[in-house]
Symmetry: C2
Subunit: 391 residues, 2 copies
């Protein structure tokens, strides 16, 4: 008896004083509300294994599922008509998910909403070992500004978000470098500052003296397939190379002719190529590759997060790139490299080594134990930002 | 036959060339996607009567309802498992709504989401005759900035949104008056710039020369009942006067000791009472009443939208208020006056007349054909902003 009590106390201490009980199903019962729940909402919850537990009242429903990580988990109904259930353990970091109620895919009314997978929908945070770098802390904070402007090239009103570092409004003689930072496919200009936590990552880095203060511009890079490529049946890729030639031209024109001049006119920027970077995740990385190779007279720092890489062959076809580029940063989640997606421009590590051997300042970063998801990209920004505008 | 064709053509012309057909159920078939749908989403839709039609695929569901304006409308299932149906005509402007699927209350996956009714949930726009004043136009735009700061009085990090008018960053010698603008109960600091369209209302007013440029601060005024009032059973009001004495003290302290000094230190404000206004809707109006009566040395312009009024009796108990106040603006939606809610401080029109008779610059505005909803408050801001900082 005494031994059992001692064991219980020890177990309680080892789990930080919480009473962790592994249920019959093998699930550890130390669930806590997700940090991105709506105010006052108890569910969804996450446990120390990274399992996501959801709960929803649907007394009349026949079947309710949690849809996360491309797997659907059946929930169970209690006597009050409340459905509850949990997923397998998820990777650390942020994940999109949804509920399915009798065939209807809907957001979970307990979570905050984020734009991704071409919809505003639920998101959840699995606490990460390194979450301190994107935590909200009592440090000087920059601002994220909603900036509405008229685009001449598109003849419409557009919106971007602009991060200005702490002190921007006070030190009115200072001018700042600029990073143009792009989201992925099915995402939009809200992604980097919401689920990407770009502002908090920069605030913390700057407060610790690890990054130079710079402006970040987050615009909408969603592209339309050129007309000639729209002939493939819905859901199928057109014949020929992928992505098709010219696919990035629309956003490139908007960026070069509208966005950059507007930013340089509206903010105290250092408006030269030595103080201008472009980076993006997934589709945004592929756009970064096309645009920076085509315009080395505009950008000197290049970041591609889970979005391909740059080969020496690419560079040889891009006059001025090798001479002007100051950083090529390539990153992936480790799980992406274990299970390679369709590669764009060959093996990213081999390509990066090749660039380094040719004397280009190159960095290759692998986010541990993460896939094609935001935790990889938060970490990529954290690494990339520390290298920017320093050489 | 000729007459029918002529009539049809006439009808088509009268409805702007659209082919409006009244279905057997009496619903006019000229539905269009709501202006606040998610990108690419066809539903929800609105017709010229102001009916809301929703559609959702839920093949396994037994009952699906549209829940809007405190009424639940049953949807009908088609042979593909898609549920569809519409509401009775709604008032012009913005409304919160949700879907109910077999007893689960969830957001509509087709709409954008807004914080209100203590949740992030669906919203819809019924096109309004006067919608031009809050439309997105090609005029100079101000910015809405997410501003994170540390609150000494609450010992935590807080967030507000700050609207800076067009030209704020360019005309660095200019200093600006400030309006502190509060949301209602169950809403938060996002309400005025999202569904309230405060930024667009100001951009349009300033572009037309109808309002002076000023800064707007939108913070979170959600209040906790003082401890002594928490004894009432859940859902019941405590005994005594409502709202209970002291209920606004928490936010008043935060506003006076944290927010205003932080804003005056961070922005180029005119930091005197003659250039400081406070206004709010519903609960925010009630807070405005308490705070401005207690602190006429801080604010000179007062706006209460659907949130009570100020009587001469109030003013007689508030030393300095009558001498210092430059504007008392009281507004309601017309439907609120038809069906009066619990009044705070007596009849608002009578109170306003009384103030005017006593020589106070007073305005009473009634929003036509709207209730306790955002269209009343958009219109109220539109009227109020034109009067601010002009006397």
């Amino acid at each position: 008896m005494k031994n059992s009590i001692q064991f219980f106390l020890l177990a309680a201490l080892m789990t930080g004083g919480l009473c962790s009980v592994r249920s019959q199903s093998g699930v550890i019962e130390d669930f806590k509300p997700s940090s991105v729940n709506q105010p006052g909402k108890e569910y969804p919850q996450v446990n120390s294994e990274g399992r996501v537990r959801v709960q929803i009242s649907a007394p009349g429903a026949n079947k309710v599922q949690l849809d996360i990580g491309a797997v659907k988990y059946d929930l169970l109904k209690d006597e009050n008509g409340v459905w509850i259930g949990e997923s397998a353990p998820q990777d650390e970091g942020f994940h999109y998910y949804q509920l399915n109620i009798d065939g209807a895919s809907v957001p979970d009314p307990g979570s905050l909403y984020f734009y991704g997978a071409s919809r505003w929908g639920s998101g959840i945070e699995i606490p990460a070992e390194d979450q301190d770098f994107y935590a909200l802390k009592n440090v000087p904070h920059g601002q994220v500004r909603e900036h509405i402007y008229f685009s001449e090239t598109n003849n419409n009103m557009r919106r971007c978000f602009v991060y200005t570092p702490a002190g921007y409004d006070r030190d009115t003689e200072n001018r700042y470098p600029v990073l143009y930072l792009q989201h992925g496919g099915g995402e939009d200009e809200t992604g980097w500052s919401n689920q990407g936590r770009a502002g908090l990552i920069m605030d913390n880095l700057i407060a610790e003296g690890k990054a130079k203060p710079f402006i970040i511009v987050m615009d909408n890079g969603t592209w339309r397939m050129p007309e000639r490529n729209r002939t493939a049946p819905r859901g199928e890729r057109p014949a020929g190379p992928w992505p098709p030639e010219g696919w990035a031209d629309g956003f490139m024109k908007t960026l070069l002719e509208d966005i950059i001049p507007m930013i340089d006119a509206s903010y105290r920027t250092l408006a030269d190529p030595q103080h201008r970077a472009m980076a993006g995740l997934s589709m945004g990385g592929m756009q970064t590759r096309v645009i920076t190779l085509a315009h080395p007279e505009v950008f000197s720092y290049v970041g591609m997060f889970s979005g391909g890489s740059i080969s020496m062959e690419d560079i040889e076809k891009a006059p001025g790139f090798k001479e002007n580029v100051r950083l090529v940063f390539i990153s992936y989640g480790s799980r992406e490299l274990e299970n390679p997606r369709r590669g764009f421009g060959g093996d990213p590590k081999e390509n990066t080594d090749e660039l380094e051997a040719a004397g280009i300042n190159t960095h290759f970063y692998v986010s541990p134990q993460t896939a094609h998801e935001w935790q990889s990209w938060r970490r990529s920004l954290y690494q990339f930002a520390q290298l920017l505008f320093k050489n």
